[in-house]
Amino acid sequence: MLEVEDLTVEVGGREIIHDVSFNIDIGETLALFGPNGSGKTTLLMAIMGFPRYEVTRGRILFNREDITHLPVDERSRMGIGILFQRPPVVRGVKMREMVRACLGGREDGAVIEQLAQQANMVELLDREVNYGFSGGEVKRSELLQLIAQSPEFVLLDEPDSGVDLVNISLVGEMINDLLQKDRMRNRTSSGLIITHTGHILDYVSVDRACVLLNGGIWCRGNPREILTSIKSHGYEGCAVCQK
């Protein structure tokens, strides 16, 4: 579904991601571990197509189509969605409008209410987007928007950061819903989850994992094994481990 080939990304003239390659199949979920500043968010932003993140080498294929230079809204309409770690506040715009926009502008109040109910977010529908939201509310709002958008492929940037124990299980449920984790076969949604701590993996199962260090992929393998190793030795352990 997603193929990233030798991708190099610059931000403000500074190279952050160097020759990164990986692919994610249909129905598969990949976890991306890495310490702060390793380039995880930059990689996600580049895949989503934000203009500040300039691809200087390599390419990104989505469903075999080269999307490397497509604008962000086209990528979104092709079926790529993103959960922002720190989304901006959009004053004046209500969550209800945002969800409606994610549904493609269809004026269906009942569907919006129903989706919000599932996300335990009915009370947030009339609030301005991300304005005064708690950490958990930000993530639930992001996931509600994504569920309304129903993308084939989701980029999840630290869905577990700043989320308390009560919220993390709900966040996990919503991600599982988004990634069709209830289906054992014929799953059509795929995802890439960035996690610094790995907490979300207690709630969401992933198929494979990579570690990103200093803008390059350091290792790939079984998510549990990699996480256990990171928990024991920290990312410093990864640095001494050979590629």
Binding site: M48, F50, P51, P71, V72, D73, S76, R77, G81, I82, F84, P87, P88, V90, R91, G92, V93, K94, E97, M98, A101, C102, G104, G105, E128, Q145, Q149
Partner: protein, 411 residues
């Protein structure tokens, strides 16, 4: 005070300021406009107005077709009152000149909330008044539907000077929607609108004014509001259409304990439009509160967005918020928030922000599948939709309709 002495006193005061301008908006030559207007006949059924006029009036939020949507109607074209009627018991709706004749006591209110000698425009209205409305809710009356008032300018080059007086008697509730419009976009004219509000003890008034002028119109509203103990005044002002020059600075005085005033303004300045608009609240009694919120957008015109809170006694609270968006290289916004605390124990605050739409917000919406233009439209629509507490749903919907209609042109 008798009417004769009133006229003499205010007339003399007004005469002194006939040359006095109202800075800093550009000056207006009163002699450039005619005050001779063609008479328009009274209409028993305002829904029979020509469709074009009805459409322009509708754009300013006033619906003439559905009687069930209003508790009273006042319609003035140029200098002629063509319809005035109260549809609910306990309400009075008529020409203010007619009211002045009918009720000698009205002179006690005349030019009390707005000073006749404030500037040359008030002086001109005092000297040369062309009706305006008188709306009064009797004690205890609760109007469910709004009174709809429309001041319409049809004749090219005309000066329309109206004087409105609104009285909400004790424990009454009154909702007013005023639409001001011109017949055709090319119309040139001057509108001077004096509005005096008296909100008595325990009363509530919501006043929604939608201006739908034309690119060559000069507009000078002058409003004063007196708010008594435990009463509420909510004002919503919307001006999204081009107007050559608009200057207003309505002033509310909270004279009774626990009085509440809230001003919301939504303005859009197109190229060629100059707006100098503010709201002022003078908190003169304990427990009184004020909130002034303005959202302004320039697409090429210039806007001065003012706000002024004055805390005269202890235990008062006021907040002022101004947000401005510049959507064009040529537009300017100058926000001037003023807080004036005159004693210990006042709580006044303000926040102001002027700039362009944050790129980060546009991209955020684009990541949800919206094109850049759609993202900007959603953000601008959100920006313009000021939450208004206390408006009846129908009035709220009417105001939103007027905003939506203008937005389509704006975007």
């Amino acid at each position: 005070m008798s009417e004769i002495t009133r006229s003499k006193a205010t007339g003399e005061r007004a005469q002194k300021v006939q040359g006095k301008t109202a800075p800093p908006a550009d000056d207006i030559d009163l002699d450039a406009y005619t005050s001779v207007a063609e008479e328009h006949p009274y209409q028993e059924d305002p829904s029979r107005l020509p469709p074009q006029a009805k459409e322009r009036i509708l754009e300013s939020g006033v619906t003439l077709d559905n009687l069930a949507q209003r508790s009273g109607t006042f319609l003035q074209i140029d200098h002629s009152v063509i319809h005035s009627k109260a549809q609910q018991g306990g309400l009075e709706v008529m020409s203010s000149l007619e009211a002045l004749e009918k009720y000698p006591w009205l002179s006690d209110y005349w030019w009390q909330a707005v000073s006749a000698d404030a500037d040359k425009f008030t002086a001109e209205a005092e000297r040369n008044q062309h009706h305006g409305y008188f709306i009064r809710s009797l004690p205890g009356t609760k109007a469910i539907q709004p009174v709809q008032a429309c001041l319409y300018l049809a004749q090219h080059g005309l000066a329309q000077n109206v004087h409105n007086v609104i009285i909400a008697e004790e424990d009454s509730e009154l909702h007013i929607i005023t639409g001001c419009a011109t017949a055709k976009m090319e119309r040139e004219g001057l509108h001077i609108g004096i509005s005096e509000f008296y909100v008595k003890k325990g009363a509530k008034v919501t006043f929604t004014m939608i201006h739908n002028w034309a690119p060559k119109m000069a507009v000078r509203p002058r409003s004063g509001i007196i708010i008594e103990e435990g009463s509420v005044f909510l004002s919503n002002y919307v001006c999204l259409k081009p107007v050559r020059t608009l200057q207003m600075y309505p002033t509310a005085r909270c004279v009774g304990e626990n009085a509440l005033v809230r001003f919301n303004s939504v303005l859009v300045a197109a190229p060629g439009t100059t707006m100098d608009v503010g709201s002022r609240a003078i908190l003169g009694a304990r427990g009184s509160r004020a909130e002034i919120v303005s959202r302004v957008i320039t697409t090429g015109g210039s806007i001065i967005a003012r706000g002024h809170l004055v805390g005269q006694v202890a235990d008062v609270k006021g907040h002022l918020e101004c947000r401005g968006l510049i959507l064009s290289e040529k537009g300017t916004i100058h926000a001037i928030p003023e807080l004036e605390g005159l004693v210990e124990g006042v709580d006044l605050s303000h926040e102001a922000a002027v700039g362009k739409i944050a790129e980060e917000e546009i991209e955020y919406l684009m990541a949800r599948g919206l094109s850049r233009d759609e993202a900007v439209a959603v953000i601008v629509r959100g920006f313009l939709s000021v939450d208004i507490e206390g408006l009846p749903p129908e009035l709220s919907a009417q105001m939103q309709r007027a905003i939506d209609m203008s937005e389509q042109e704006l975007l």
